[in-house]
Every structure is written in structure tokens, then in C-alpha cells.
């Protein structure tokens, strides 16, 4: 049984998770997760490899539907709307809950086309709307000054850090409420990592960010709240400062102090 260490009450959570169970075939990957994500804050999900944090993240925008043989039980609500409902419009969900992946995956198109992709598939074709939103998104991702003169060049010509920021711009162009980030800096060099972390801090003003990271220092630097996962269970959740300074749970403390990876 999990120890309910979520003693914090989150007022006005953007996502509520209640008794979430997740199965890959017959293996239970997530067990009885109860969690609430605070609005317009950065929440970090930490834990050792294989503890289920990425799986959990992908439940939030129903990306696990792509994998055969998966099963979800329990309740997942975005602003009160049930995500796990059978008749949910998954397309609409994915517009409201965006995702940035570990390995940046820009499309083999121009930078402009990458950023406006989300809008095009939503049916927006007005050139002025697209151009305006593209600039806004690129500014929001801190990429505008670097690419404003080459919007029509291929996105594949950018550096690693720029590509990841492009993916972030692409995600915020559709104006989501929540941005999920799955280890976004693990493939980047320290300088690009610092840039992206800075960006996350700026994005917090407008979006809720949920970031999975295996780098505890990053979690400490970037997040307001932290959740610690271990072997499919949510062990502890709280304010980052509190969790790192005075963890309530022994497992948490062991992980943070590096007694196991």
C-alpha cells in the first residue's frame, strides 16, 4: 500500500489523478496513483529508471493508446473532464495537453511549417494568423532571434538545442494548457540545457509544466513541486524545497542522497 505522503492540498488543480492503475498486458506498471497537479506551476517527476514516470506522463495525453495491450484503470481528469473516458476526443485532448520528447523530433519541413503544423492540422489556414502565431511561439521558446531570417529553411539544419526549443515552440503554438516534457534536456549539452531550463521558468507564467527528469539537480533547480516515483508507486509529493531538504519518506531520502540510482 502506498504511503499517502501528499499532505499538501492543491487548490484548483489542473489535472487530478485518482486511483490510477496501468497495465502493460498483464504486468502492472503503475499502482494506485493519487496526485493533483497545481495550475501554472512546474511539477517534476523523479525516480530511478523504470519506475514508471514516463509511462505515467504518457497517460496524461493518452499516448499509451498507441501501444497494443495496454490498459488503464482509474480516473484522470483535466479541469474536471475525464480523460480516460471511452468517448473522449483524443485529438482535442492532445491540443490541450502538449508534449515535448526526450529526443527532439522536428519534422523534415521548414522551421515555419514545423511551428504551424499543429494549427494546420486543426484546420487553420489563414496565412496572417499562422505567421503571427509562429512568431509568438518562437519568441516564447526563445528561438525567434536565432531563426527569424531563415524560417523557410529546413528545420533539420538546426543544432540539437535549437531543435528542442523548436519542438517546444511547436507545442506552445497550439496554445495548450499543460505541457508535458519527457526528459527534454537529456540529449543536450550543458549550455543548451541551461537555456531550456531558463525557458521552462519563463513558460511557467502561462502554462502548467510537468517534467520527467532523472537529473535531481535539474528538478531542484527548475520545479516548484516534485513527485517521487518508485517501482510504479507514488512515494512522495510535495513542494520541491521541502522534498529535497526534509523528505518525509525514507525511500525518498535514500534516492535523493544517492544511495540508489
Amino acid at each position: 500500500m502506498t504511503m499517502k505522503s501528499t499532505e499538501i492540498q492543491i487548490t484548483d488543480p489542473v489535472i487530478e489523478v485518482e486511483k490510477l492503475n496501468f497495465y502493460y498486458g498483464s504486468t502492472e506498471a503503475l499502482h494506485n496513483i493519487d496526485l493533483q497537479f497545481p495550475r501554472r506551476q512546474v511539477t517534476a517527476l523523479i525516480g530511478p529508471s523504470g519506475c514508471g514516470k514516463s509511462t505515467f506522463l504518457r497517460c496524461l495525453n493518452r499516448m499509451n493508446d498507441m501501444i497494443d495491450g495496454t490498459r488503464v484503470e482509474g480516473s484522470l481528469r483535466l479541469n474536471g473532464m475525464e480523460i480516460n473516458a471511452a468517448n473522449l476526443d483524443v485529438i482535442e485532448l492532445r491540443r490541450r495537453v502538449g508534449m515535448v520528447f526526450q529526443k527532439s523530433n522536428p519534422f523534415p519541413k521548414s522551421i515555419f511549417e514545423n511551428v504551424v503544423y499543429g494549427m494546420r492540422i486543426a484546420g487553420i489556414r489563414d496565412r496572417s494568423v499562422l505567421t503571427e502565431t509562429c512568431e509568438k511561439a518562437l519568441r516564447g521558446a526563445g528561438l525567434w532571434d536565432e531563426v527569424k531570417d531563415r524560417l523557410n529553411q529546413s528545420a533539420l539544419g538546426l543544432s540539437g538545442g535549437q531543435m528542442q526549443r523548436l519542438c517546444i515552440a511547436r507545442a506552445i503554438a497550439v496554445n495548450p494548457e499543460v505541457i508535458l516534457m519527457d526528459e527534454p534536456c537529456s540529449a543536450l549539452d550543458p549550455k543548451s540545457t541551461a537555456r531550456v531550463e531558463e525557458l521552462i521558468g519563463e513558460l511557467r507564467e502561462n502554462y502548467t509544466i510537468i517534467i520527467v527528469t532523472h537529473n535531481m539537480q535539474q528538478a531542484a533547480r527548475v520545479s516548484d513541486y516534485t513527485a517521487f516515483f518508485f517501482e510504479g508507486l507514488l512515494v512522495e509529493f510535495g513542494l520541491t524545497n521541502q522534498l529535497f531538504m526534509k523528505p518525509r519518506n525514507k525511500q525518498t531520502e535514500d534516492y535523493i542522497t544517492g544511495r540508489f540510482g
Binding site: F101, P108, A122
Partner: protein
């Protein structure tokens, strides 16, 4: 101890480093390239020289006879005590054979007289000899021109009449077609039970009479024109003096190769190439042009691609993107891969049974019952041949598309779906463009196969000589029930089914060269497109 192992036995090292394998793989690659190069060079050497107007020789033999012609081959005699030559003597109507073998020691004198004339004719092949006389009523020979010049002048004058003759031919063909149509309509009425007293029957019969009258009229006109043209005659003599008079209409070309400068030879060569590409074949396909065969081949490839390309790509998309992974999908993949290995003649037999007799027969029963037992679609035609070849090449396209889609990194799919795209949008906007180089490869392979396969075509619609093209100016313009000609089959036909194999040999090489060139051009274009797409859509390494 270290010193010893570092220097080591060099033999052991030789095998361990793998140097012999470098040599073996290099040798294998070189051998393959050498074989390909040899093939192309042999075809080119034999094919390119065919149209070059070579020297004509006049030989005086030791027994007093005189022969003339082109030296085609030189080789050692069977006994090995000298050389012998193969001489193309032409004049099949005079000698009964085109070629002669002569031992070189039989030859007393060899000359290359510049007045020696070569004729290309509508019948009986080439003629080698001298121009003796021209009969051209109404056209005087000017003093300034020699006999050969006079010949060309007369020909020029005849050209307007020749055009008239051609026009007449076309009009007759048109009337013929209309007659055919009325006949078919009558058949249809008959079939429907409308007897000779029905108004449509009377109307059609009247129309038929009018058309027949027109036809008779045209036949008379043609006869008169032919008679008028036949008044122009030329008399030639071969080198031994035998004379032959022939109407000028039968002569396609006259030239004096011993008298031609390099410039005029080049012009001659180009003229022959033009003839090859735009004219129809004559003399049982051993002379003349290849236009209908070229047209048939290109149209076949086109129609086949129209069927196999969309079918293959869509099937592969379903297999890769939509079908649930499992035993069924794996079995289907294995089946498709094996389909690509089935011998093409098997596809031909299947095409014959299923398409020609099965579906074609059914179409005939439903839509053209009045014409039976004469089949319309129930016999070979370009539609069935294209479908058969499409079946043959669909596995290639499926496999190529499947592999291309599978090579796309999963991150791109995830990225698109995470932005709220449907699977279909992801496919159309991202996956298919990224897979297009691979898909183009599949199409290239399919097209090359269609241009080259002959066995299945022989049973589903290719003929030696097609009366008309499958695409022409009369409604419905595209005649998918017509039989057609094909370059691959043409090669087989000229080389092995022809009554005069020796005379046909040059044509075989020329046709082979042309086929190789056409496939090369199509493939190069497709490769160019593929490379362009590759640059745009492929992911650079991370």
C-alpha cells in the same frame, strides 16, 4: 614476450585482419560491373553501327563472275587455311537469298565504284547495282543533272501524289471503320430481336449502302492514283548485268555510299534513326521503324503503373500503419514477399484464365453479346496485359513502401500525434513524404520489369504486327481491348521467328539497344526524382 606476439607470424595476421576478404569482395564487385559493362558495350557496338552507310564493294571472282554488296563479316575458314567473308548481296528477288559466303582466295579483284547504288525497298530487301534508266512521263531530265540527280528530282515531284495516296488510305480506313460500326449495330439489333422491318434496321441498311458506295469510290480513286504513280519506273542492273525494272513507289531510299562524304553519311545516319523512331515496320518486322512497338511498350508501362502503384502503396500503408500486429500481419508479409518471386509465365497463365477468359468473357456476355463468338474483351489486349503485369509488380511496390515506412524513426510519428494529428493526417503530411524516396525505388523497379517482361505478355495481348495503336484519334480514343506491340516481344520475334534471320540480326541489336535506352531513361528520371525527394525529406543522423 610482448615483442614476439607483436611481430607474430605474418600469415596468421594476414588471415586475421581480413585482407583476403577485401580482395574477394573487390573481385566480386569488379566481376559484376564487368559483366554489366560487357553487355552494354556488345549491344552498343553491334547496334550503333547498323545505320552507318558502309562501303559497297564490287568483287570480280576468279571464275569470272561479278558480285557486289556489303561485307558483313570476316572470319577464318573452317579449314583454317585462309579467310572468308560474308557478303550481303541483297537482290532477294533476283537471287533468292540475301547473303553469300566467299573464300578470299576466290576473289581476283575488289573495287569500290562510286556509282554503285544501294536501294532500300518496300519488298525484297536491299538492292545493290547501277541505275540504268528512269521513265518519268511529263518530266524531262534537265541537262545539268546526272541520272541519280534526276532520280531524286522525280521523287520530289511524286511527293505530293504520295501524300494524296496516304490521305486516301486514311479516308478509306475511316470509311471502313464506320462500315464496321454499322455492321455491329445491325448485329446488335438482330440480337435484340428487332427484325428487318424495324425503322432502325432500315435506316442502318441505308447508311451501310451509302458507306459502301463511298468505299467503292475511294477504291477507284486509289486505283487511278496508283496507276498514275506506277508510270514512274526506274531500271536497275546488278553488277553482272541482270536488269530489273521497278516502280519508284517501291523504293524507300536510294544512296551511293561510296560517294558520300562524312557529313552526308552523318545526315543519313540521323535520318535512319528518325525513321526507326517514327515509322512502322516493314518486311516482317526486319526493316523499317519501331514506332508502334515503342508506343506499345510505353503505354503498357504507363497503364500498368496506374494500377499497381496506388494499389501497392495503399496496401503497404494498411499493412504497416493500420493492421494490428500479430500472426495475420506476419503471414501476409511473408505471402507478399513470396508473390514477388513467382515466375512471370505463371502470372501470364493466371492472367489468361482470370482476366482474359474470366472477366473478359463476362464483359463480353454482358456488354457485347451481339458480337459473339468474336470476342471483344474476351481475348488478349492491352488492358489485360497491363493488369497481369500490375499483379506481377505489386509485390515489389508493397515491399518497397513497407520498408520505407518502417525506416521512419518512431519519434516523428509520436511528435505528430502528440500535437493532435489523426493517424491519417500524420500519414499524408509527414510519413508518406518521408517514405517517398523508397516508394519511388519500388516504382522504378516495377517499371523496369514491365518494360522487360515478355513471357506473360505473349499470352495476354502482344502481337507481331498490330493493325492500329491502342490510343488514337477516334472515339473513345483509348482502346483498351486492342492488341499491341512491345519492344521485348519484338526482339524475340525478329530474332527467332523471322523468315530471314541473317537479315534480321542488325534489327535485333538495334531494338535491344533501344529497349535498354528506354528503360535507362525511365529509371534515370525516377532516380533523379528520388534523389530530389531524399534531399528534402530524409532525416540527417542525430
Amino acid at each position: 614476450m610482448g615483442e614476439k606476439t607483436l611481430q607474430g607470424k605474418s600469415m596468421k595476421k594476414f588471415w586475421r585482419i581480413g585482407e583476403p576478404w577485401v580482395w574477394v569482395t573487390g573481385a566480386a564487385l569488379s566481376t559484376t560491373l564487368l559483366i554489366c559493362a560487357t553487355l552494354i558495350i556488345v549491344v552498343m557496338v553491334n547496334g550503333l553501327g547498323v545505320f552507318w552507310p558502309s562501303q559497297v564493294v564490287s568483287l570480280k571472282l576468279k571464275d569470272g563472275r561479278q558480285v557486289a554488296g556489303e561485307i558483313v563479316k570476316r572470319e577464318a575458314t573452317a579449314l583454317g587455311d585462309g579467310e572468308r567473308i560474308q557478303l550481303k548481296v541483297g537482290n532477294r528477288d533476283l537471287y533468292g537469298m540475301d547473303f553469300r559466303w566467299l573464300d578470299l582466295d576466290q576473289v581476283e579483284e575488289k573495287t569500290q565504284p562510286s556509282e554503285l547504288v544501294v536501294l532500300e525497298r518496300q519488298e525484297y530487301g536491299n538492292f545493290y547495282g547501277y541505275l540504268q534508266d528512269i521513265e518519268a512521263p511529263g518530266l524531262e531530265k534537265p541537262q545539268t543533272l546526272d541520272l541519280v540527280g534526276y532520280f531524286h528530282l522525280v521523287r520530289e515531284n511524286m511527293s505530293s501524289q504520295l501524300e494524296q495516296a496516304e490521305e486516301l488510305d486514311q479516308r478509306m480506313a475511316k470509311v471502313n471503320r464506320r462500315l464496321n460500326k454499322t455492321r455491329q449495330e445491325l448485329l446488335e439489333l438482330n440480337y435484340r430481336g428487332k427484325g428487318p422491318d424495324s425503322p432502325q434496321f432500315v435506316d442502318l441498311t441505308r447508311r451501310q449502302l451509302v458507306l459502301r458506295e463511298d468505299f467503292e469510290d475511294l477504291v477507284e480513286q486509289q486505283r487511278q492514283l496508283a496507276a498514275s504513280l506506277n508510270r514512274f519506273q526506274a531500271t536497275f542492273a546488278d553488277v553482272s548485268g541482270r536488269e530489273k525494272t521497278m516502280p519508284l513507289v517501291e523504293i524507300v531510299r536510294l544512296y551511293q555510299p561510296n560517294d558520300m562524304s562524312v557529313g552526308s553519311k552523318i545526315l543519313f545516319y540521323l535520318a535512319k534513326i528518325k525513321e526507326l523512331l517514327v515509322e512502322e515496320p516493314r518486311e516482317s518486322n526486319t526493316e523499317g521503324g519501331l514506332f508502334p512497338a515503342i508506343f506499345g511498350t510505353v503505354m503498357l508501362v504507363f497503364v500498368m503503373s496506374l494500377f499497381s502503384f496506388p494499389l501497392g502503396v495503399i496496401a503497404a500503408i494498411y499493412l504497416r500503419e493500420y493492421a494490428k500486429d500479430g500472426v495475420v500481419v506476419r503471414v501476409v508479409r511473408i505471402a507478399v514477399n513470396n508473390l514477388a518471386g513467382i515466375p512471370s509465365i505463371v502470372y501470364g497463365i493466371f492472367g489468361l484464365g482470370f482476366f482474359v477468359y474470366g472477366i473478359g468473357g463476362a464483359i463480353d456476355q454482358l456488354f457485347f453479346p451481339e458480337r459473339l463468338p468474336t470476342p471483344t474483351f474476351g481475348t488478349g489486349g492491352i488492358l489485360w496485359a497491363s493488369l497481369t503485369l500490375a499483379l506481377l509488380t505489386v509485390p515489389v511496390v508493397i515491399v518497397a513502401t513497407d520498408e520505407a515506412l518502417g525506416a521512419i524513426p518512431a519519434g516523428v510519428r509520436d511528435g505528430s500525434l502528440a500535437l493532435g494529428a489523426t493517424k491519417f493526417q500524420t500519414l499524408v503530411r509527414i510519413l508518406i513524404p518521408m517514405a517517398s524516396p523508397g516508394i519511388m525505388t519500388g516504382l522504378i523497379l516495377a517499371m523496369a520489369r514491365a518494360a522487360g517482361e515478355v513471357a506473360p505478355l505473349m499470352i495476354t495481348g502482344v502481337v507481331k504486327l498490330a493493325p492500329s495503336l491502342p490510343l488514337d484519334g477516334e472515339f473513345p480514343f483509348l482502346h483498351l481491348d486492342r492488341k499491341f506491340m512491345h519492344l521485348g516481344f519484338h526482339i524475340y520475334d525478329i530474332g527467332f521467328q523471322s523468315p530471314n534471320v541473317e537479315a534480321a540480326k542488325p534489327m535485333v541489336f538495334v531494338t535491344t539497344l533501344l529497349l535498354v535506352l528506354i528503360v535507362l531513361v525511365m529509371s534515370s528520371f525516377a532516380i533523379y526524382l528520388r534523389n530530389k525527394m531524399k534531399k528534402r525529406y530524409t532525416y540527417s543522423a542525430f
